[in-house]
């Protein structure tokens, strides 16, 4: 893809995916890769950071006789996600205005 993903956008996408339902690393990676090119190794540091920032928390659940770590969004993560959504709306509007009409304002 021509447009690189910023760290903030990646955070926002991960939070949005996890906010819909608790999910695990591999699934989140594949969901994001549906929309954009991202290396499979990109997500782990992002998940760690979001955990560290208390936007996500984890719990373990057994799956097919092995352990699987699930991620769950926290209240702090939800408010962060709402912030990202607002920011994104503004960003999208400004970019589209320029991109589609060549107008700055």
């Amino acid at each position: 893809m021509a447009f690189p993903i910023s760290a903030a956008l990646l955070d926002a996408l991960v939070l949005a995916i996890v906010s819909k339902e608790d999910t695990y690393g591999y699934k989140i990676t594949q969901d994001i890769r549906e929309a954009m090119t991202m290396s499979e190794s990109t997500l782990y540091p992002v998940l760690r950071r979001l955990q560290k920032d208390e936007c996500l928390e984890t719990y373990d659940r057994e799956y097919m006789g092995r352990n699987r770590r699930y991620y769950r969004i926290t209240p702090k993560g939800i408010s962060q996600l709402n912030l990202y959504r607002e920011e994104w709306k503004l960003y999208k509007k400004r970019v589209e205005r320029i991109l589609e009409k060549g107008e700055v304002s």
């Binding site: 690393g25 591999y26 190794s41 540091p45």
Partner: protein, 214 residues
């Protein structure tokens, strides 16, 4: 390369991490392989790159905020207890040391009171004496000068005596000296005295104030 070989090499590349962080990262990728399915192992490895490269990626995520990660590593129960108790010990011993120093200082001051007490009282008296002296001298010069000049001037008309003329001259000289003395006196009382009291206040706080704040 099999999945287990990959994970093993990844593990050995992450020795720089605290044990719990390493375990976390390794089990994340173990699960990742398992969720991808055995048939996809090769493509996952191709996507992730060499274990060394992946380890670098994990470690660089750590470098960006090392302090937070070392804090995380302290979350391991034994480490936490250890660090907590050491810092606690340090803190306590620091307080004890401070208190000891203050107590020793007070004891020494009290014991040597006869020696420095006289000197201190003498010094305080000297300072107040100097202040009073300057004020008195200034006042006396001005008052005396005015009185002498006026007295001489009045009598000069009465008798025209040469002595009265001298009195007028002397009085004016005294008045001039008195007025001249006003300058250092004014400085002493407006700047010197407040500064002295401020100094005494600071000294008092340093000796006893810090103890009250603890």
């Amino acid at each position: 390369m099999t999945k287990n070989e990959y994970i093993g090499r990844l593990k050995s590349c992450l020795t720089a991490l605290p044990p719990n962080e390493r375990e976390e990262a390794v089990s994340y990728y173990e699960e990742f392989f398992e969720d991808a399915g055995e048939e996809n192992t090769a493509s996952v490895i191709a996507e992730l790159g060499s274990p060394e490269k992946l380890a670098k990626n994990i470690l660089s995520g750590q470098d960006s905020d090392e302090a937070v990660w070392s804090e995380k590593s302290a979350e391991e129960p034994p480490a936490e207890i250890k660090t907590e108790s050491t810092s606690e010990n340090k803190k306590t011993s620091g307080v004890v040391k401070d208190n000891n120093v203050t107590i020793i200082a007070i004891v020494i001051l009290a014991l040597t009171c006869p020696v420095w007490g006289g000197a201190a009282i003498g010094l305080v008296c000297a300072v107040f004496g100097l202040l009073l002296g300057v004020a008195a001298a200034t006042g006396a010069m001005i008052l005396g000068g005015v009185t002498m000049a006026v007295y001489g001037f009045v009598n000069l008309f009465g008798s025209g005596d040469i002595i009265n003329l001298g009195m007028v001259g002397g009085g004016l000289i005294l008045l001039a000296i008195g007025l001249f003395l006003l300058v250092p006196a004014k400085w002493l009382y407006t700047k010197g005295v407040p500064a002295m009291f401020r100094g005494m206040g600071t000294l008092w706080r340093r000796l006893f104030g810090s103890k009250g704040a603890e």
